[in-house]
């Protein structure tokens, strides 16, 4: 049985949990004026967490994207596509959902190989 390592572990959530060569990253939110800006910030946050976990976006396995308005799908995707490591896009699902507050318009969580 392999150990569990937690990154930025708080009383309610860890930013990331690593087990058996796989890192599970908590849903990342950001403030920002537009879906484009928020997506950019969220993906930067994911980059930072992956780096702390000793991996990077080229090792992504799966991603879940939540949008408060599915009509902003293309806006999110334009930032996402520019960010993804070419040829290394993860399995992904994107759905509309209410998030933490109306100001939050996109949330993304990922699973990656370490």
């Amino acid at each position: 049985m392999s150990d569990i390592k937690r990154i930025e572990s708080g009383s309610r959530v860890s930013h990331a949990v690593i087990h058996d060569g796989v890192v599970y990253v908590a849903g990342v939110l950001s403030t920002g004026a537009s879906v484009r800006e928020q997506t950019r910030n969220v993906l930067q946050g994911i980059d930072a967490t992956l780096e702390r976990a000793g991996t990077d976006k080229s090792k992504l396995l799966s991603a879940t994207v939540w949008l408060t308005d599915i009509a902003t799908f293309d806006e999110m995707n334009s930032v996402w596509d520019a960010w993804v490591s070419p040829g290394n896009a993860p399995a992904r699902a994107c759905i509309e959902a209410k998030l933490l507050s109306p100001a939050h318009r996109v949330e993304i969580s990922v699973i990656a190989a370490v």
Binding site: D20, G21, V22, K59, L60, L61, S62, A63, I70, A71, F73, N77, W80, D81, V84, G87, N88, A89, P90, A91, R92, A93, C94, I95, E96, A97, I111, A113, V114
Partner: protein, 114 residues
């Protein structure tokens, strides 16, 4: 570190990402028709993706089902029940969510062991 194998890698997502014997499948949708038909097509799509990943439905670990209208739960669940490998039901959750601007009524993502 085990490598990551991808099937159907595109700019937004890969249909499948495989790492350390675990298969991550993207959210699968199928346009048009009733919830029953869409579910049947989605599950056929998942069968094909799992086959390509050298796995099958008897090896599914977890599944997330999104329905645009929770009143369609029974329709989806009926097809799901007929499709499942007996005795090998995965951990599953089912949530109502808007899926896209197209007429998708159901999306399903799974994780499976190889």
């Amino acid at each position: 570190m085990a490598g990551v194998e991808r099937i159907g890698a595109g700019p937004h997502l890969s249909h499948v990402a495989i790492h350390a014997g675990v298969v991550h499948v993207s959210g699968v949708v199928s346009p048009g028709g009733s919830v029953r038909e869409q579910t049947r097509n989605v599950l056929t799509g998942i069968d094909e993706l799992l086959r390509g990943a050298r796995s099958d439905k008897s090896r599914i670990l977890s599944a997330t089902v999104w329905l645009t209208d929770m009143r369609n739960f029974q329709q989806m669940d009926g097809v799901w029940g007929e499709w499942l490998s007996a005795g090998n039901a995965p951990a599953r959750s089912c949530i109502e969510a808007k899926l896209s601007l197209l007429d998708f009524s159901v999306a399903i993502a799974v994780t499976a062991a190889q």
